[in-house]
């Protein structure tokens, strides 16, 4: 069943309806609740904004960042410096006078918050450029260091920040309306972004960076963008905090603050927006509500004295229970949707809507996506040429002086014993390795040393020996990620729900569905790729590669682990897609039936050196090949 399509008008109406309800609730809260409850409501909004921004960075893009306190500090200080009046600033900087231009700038609250967000985003970008090359825990440590540097800078830049004295008397602009307005905007932007193909791309990077690169994704750029957007909203959260509690100092922004935000994101579920929202509410309320355990409890006959710190003990225990029994957090990666209750009801009533009628598209019709690389067959006789290409790892020569020319439109094979360097050649062609010698030409142009995502853009796609799908994404989303490389919308367009990007996404979904149908995967479109059976994962990987609209397809052991029937199907599939998609295919395969059956030309590699090449018959009878790879038994068998 295809993924549910939602009409944009309906969706907008739903969002506006929810926003209207929220506004009513806020108006009610403002009139009927006491300032204490309002304060907690305000904190909830800010905590959710912060958790969402961290979730975007960590949960959705998979970058372990501990720099949130730093971004918040920047947002808070910039905003505070903007909203204070020059006269007030004059009296407050008692150690060293405040310097120009900070002494004279004054902005309204809204532009001040934006300024705080933008400065935090700039800092985010600045740190992202050098640091994002690190991964995993190293990134965590580097960002933690960054936020400490920010704090030390603020402490010592007394003429700007008033040093450790901090800033007090910041006007309390952060009302319910502003905080929830910003929360709505954050939610709207993040949800829209994640629901678009940009969201698929970010999650793809989280699931498998290498596979994402072969899909033509500039992972570095996408990560930097996600990091910057996250930093922007963290800065906004910091600015709102400053104007809520009216005083800030550098000590506030210690790494403990980061951990508070991290706690909400983790407890809610990394990779779940509703998780952050739910956890933001629960944790903020719980922290205050638990104060009752610190008060004296008078049971009449016994007086239990209040123990300060008790609530943190209970709170920590609750968190530990969450981590022990629900490691993935309250929501995991799932989302609560508007229609969740409705869907539950439907399941209960067993009146699920009939699936939409399946339309029979031929694959030609599927080609609605613009072809950026409209290659004319025959333009180049050889689509791919390796000229004395070689790769050395330290003292080991994996590939040496490899010359090969693949004719446009053919299916070529690559065989050789294990460790002969076949996959290394694939990695050279697809840009994962930069050859230590020689050159690689694609369609006549030199692509030596191009990064994987640019190679993909030129029109080369590949699959992997050990399947590398994006396991948490659905089959459909996997294919959509492939479409990203030809996509026209900019990354920020979906965040603002621009009609052009929405139309493009709808078209892409349709094309992706047709592609899945072509490979017989349309029934599994909505299933998580990681849960598909092996054979279907193989086919999905091919579908995903085709989505990048390649001219040249590299298949790394496509038949590995398949039974004879599946292998037979695969051979037909390979020949069909070559025809339908006007491709040239190069494949690595150990199954001689496949290689001999589909390939028109074969290269044999041993110890990194090409020992033979030619049509299947010649290879089959080449004594060198028989000795090195095929073996006498094969000859008898054949």
């Amino acid at each position: 069943m295809p993924a549910p399509q939602t009409r944009p008008a309906y969706e907008a109406a739903r969002f506006l309806g929810a926003a209207g309800l929220l506004m009513l609730a806020l108006a009610g809260a403002e009139t009927f609740l006491d300032p204490y409850k309002i304060q907690i409501l305000n904190l909830i909004a800010i905590n959710i904004i912060l958790a969402l921004s961290l979730n975007l960075i960590y949960g959705f893009t998979g970058m372990f960042s501990l720099g949130h306190a730093g971004f918040m500090a920047i947002g808070a200080y910039v905003c505070s410096l903007c909203v204070l009046t020059p006269a007030y600033k004059e009296t407050m900087w008692i150690l060293e006078p405040i310097i120009w231009p900070f002494s004279h700038m004054e902005l309204g609250f809204f532009p001040a918050v934006i300024a705080g967000g933008i400065c935090a985003a700039l800092a985010g970008l600045l740190i992202a450029l050098p640091v994002l090359r690190l991964g995993g825990d190293y990134l965590g440590i580097a960002t933690l260091g960054f936020s400490e540097i920010i704090r030390v800078l603020i402490t010592n830049a007394t003429p700007i920040t008033n040093g450790s004295l901090g800033i007090k008397g910041i006007p309390k602009f952060s009302t319910l309306w502003w905080n929830y307005g910003w929360l709505l905007f954050t939610l709207y932007f993040v949800v829209s972004l994640l629901r678009s193909n940009s969201g698929n791309v970010l999650k793809a990077i989280r699931d498998d960076q290498i596979a994402a690169k072969t899909m033509g994704i500039n992972t570095f750029r996408q990560q930097a963008l996600s990091f910057t957007v996250g930093a922007f909203f963290a800065g906004v959260g910091g600015a709102l905090t400053a104007c809520l509690i009216s005083t800030i100092d550098p000590k506030m922004f210690s790494f403990l603050l980061t951990f508070n935000v991290l706690m909400i994101a983790v407890a809610g579920g990394l990779g779940s927006i509703t998780g952050s929202v739910v956890a933001g509410i629960i944790i903020t309320v719980l922290l205050e509500w638990l104060r009752i355990v610190e008060e004296e409890i008078n049971l009449g006959f016994i007086l239990i004295p209040g123990i300060p710190g008790m609530r943190m003990v209970i709170f920590s225990m609750a968190l530990m229970l969450i981590i022990i029994f629900r490691r993935e957090g309250i929501m995991g990666m799932r989302e609560l949707a508007w229609d969740t209750p409705l869907r539950l009801w439907r399941r209960f009533a067993k009146t699920s809507a009939p699936p939409p009628p399946a339309k029979n598209f031929s694959i030609q019709e599927a080609e609605t996506m613009p072809r950026s690389q409209a290659a004319i067959p025959g333009e180049n006789e050889f689509i791919l040429e390796l000229r004395k290409a070689g790769m050395r790892f330290g003292g080991v020569t994996a590939v040496k002086d490899l010359n090969m020319s693949v004719k446009t439109g053919c299916i070529a094979g690559f065989i050789g014993p294990n460790g002969a360097g076949k996959t290394t050649v694939f990695n050279l062609i697809s840009g994962f390795y930069k050859p230590t010698q020689g050159r690689i030409l694609f369609q006549g142009a030199d692509i030596t040393g191009l990064p994987p995502h640019l190679v993909c853009k030129r029109g080369i796609a590949r699959t992997f020996q050990n399947i590398r799908l994006f396991p948490t994404l659905s089959a459909l989303q996997n294919v959509l990620v492939g479409f990203h490389v030809r996509q026209k919308s900019q990354w920020w367009m979906p965040g603002l729900q621009l009609p052009a990007s929405r139309r493009e996404y709808a078209a892409m979904r349709e094309a992706a569905m047709r592609l899945l149908k072509r490979l017989g995967l349309d029934d599994e479109a909505c299933e998580a790729a990681g849960s598909l059976p092996y054979g279907k994962q193989r086919r999905l990987e091919i579908a995903r590669a085709l989505a990048t609209e390649p001219r040249f397809l590299l298949l790394d052991e496509p038949a590995a682990g398949m039974n004879p029937y599946e292998t037979q199907d695969l051979m037909e599939l390979i020949q069909d897609i070559r025809q339908d998609f006007n491709l040239t295919i190069l494949l690595i395969e150990h199954d001689m039936k496949v290689v001999m059956g589909v390939c028109s030309n074969i290269w044999v590699l041993e110890y990194g050196i090409c020992i033979a090449d030619g049509p299947p018959e010649a290879i089959r009878n080449d004594p060198k090949v028989i000795e090195a790879y095929l073996g006498e038994e094969y000859m008898e068998y054949a």
């Binding site: 204490y36 008692i94 030390v152 040093g163 004295l165 007090k168 905090t241 809520l244 943190m312």
Partner: protein, 376 residues
Amino acid sequence: MLKKLCASACVLLLSCSLAQAAEPVKFGVYLPLTGQNAFGGQLELEGIQMAHKEEGRVLGREVQLMVVDNKSDKTEAANAVTRLTARDKVVGILGTYGSSLAMAGGEVAETAQTPIIATSATNPLVTTGKKYHFRVCFIDPYQGAGAAEYALQELKATKAAILKDVASDYAVGLASFFERSFTKQGGAVVANLSYSSGDQDFTAQLTQINSLNPDVLFIPAYFAEGGIIMKQARELGAKFRIMGGDAMDNPDTVSIAKEAAEGFLHTTFPYDPGMTKMNETAQKFTEQWRKTYPNKDPNVNAALGYTTYMLLIDAIKRAGTADDREAITKAIGETKNFPAVTGLLSINASHDAEMPIGIIEIRSGKRVYLGEVTPK
């Protein structure tokens, strides 16, 4: 069985609440009872609780303490005061230790128009421009001036060096006021060096200071770092005297620095259990404390906590109402010569307490109260 117990508990609870029907007067208390400032907050709370035990009623009504922990955290401090003013509707608030916490809490009390008396928040910014914020302690410029004056007059120092915690608002403020007073009165500050909270090694700064050969080193530090600084300074063979501020007034100062604390001087609030000429209130306080907490020495933080409570009671009595916050605020502001543990206490125009500065010297590991200075 369980049901019965619950039922009887309910009945008891109900009867209790009925017995207290004459509405109690609610005092809010917000202090750092956990977190990095807990040592001060706990002592001040004990002082307040002791005062509450001593004078549990005002204008014929019972006083109820609503104690809220602010975790040494600004957001929590703002939350705590919001809770006290909005939910508990307290008539006045006592606390807090720590100026940055007081600034966060004070802002909330100001909008809620509830009087608030800080125990030991010494930063001048705490009460500036505030109508409802008072304190029973002196402020850092005054203390800095006192330390400078003592160094110049009594120690005959002409060259001073400063080593301050740049991450602490308290240290930065106090250091700057010491420097201003010291240079204004003819002294010279030869070095003004910094470190950051949590540092363990101060030898680099101390070697530089040593080479400049000052007469006195002023360290407006907390005892944890202050103790180590003294130790390392003596290990480097420093001959100069070392002076500190009221944050060094803690038994741990000696236990960390050991012999290196010998001759260390620090300013503090004019109360010490070992002082020779103790006023009547201080005597009463000390006796009471020894009875209530036999295993603990009274300390100035406890005395300040005690004082805030007694001052609020006094103001309510003078205002003649325990409900009108405006009248109580006015009464607090008009406090003149109130007999406090720290001497006769008056609240001045900037809502700070005027009192002399006590000087303590460590001699053979014991704190000796040398006397008082009143800076001009």
